[in-house]
Symmetry: C2
Subunit: 88 residues, 2 copies
């Protein structure tokens, strides 16, 4: 049981590290300090960690990566829209 608890705490720490970034982007509607490469690479990687967690039946991996994916989708959405507005 301790192992799963360790996974949950790890998930909370790494997932909530994304929260300030996502909230700042929602508030400022700007995505300049995040590169598209970072956002795309992280989103793909987190999705694969989610699949890995499903295959390994690891609830900490599944839950942490679902929440992180949601935050990353927010970051990606603001990033893509910001790109559209600046015509770059």
């Amino acid at each position: 049981m301790e192992t799963e608890l360790l996974g949950y705490v790890a998930g909370i720490l790494t997932t909530f590290a994304f929260l300030p970034q996502a909230l700042r982007m929602i508030r400022t509607r700007q995505a300049r300090d995040v590169s598209m490469t970072w956002a795309a690479s992280m989103t793909a990687g987190v999705f694969l960690w989610f699949c890995y967690g499903m295959l390994k039946h690891s609830v900490p991996l599944i839950s942490a990566n679902i929440v992180t994916l949601l935050l990353l989708f927010v970051i990606l959405f603001v990033k893509i829209r910001d790109r559209g507005n600046s015509g770059s």
Copy 2:
């Protein structure tokens, strides 16, 4: 075997998403666009994922989080030294 491969690809994507940030900080010796809260929270979380991987005997989790920890230590080192220099 495919499950482990999935884990390795996930690890490569999420680990190398940190690389540009770490390289930019080494090159510019500046850490302003990274918050201490983010760096500390991510480092603690990645360390716990590493421990979780050890307990679950998951080589993808162990290897990905070791490399990410090294990159995060670089980011933390530049961040702490940058703070020392600016006397903040």
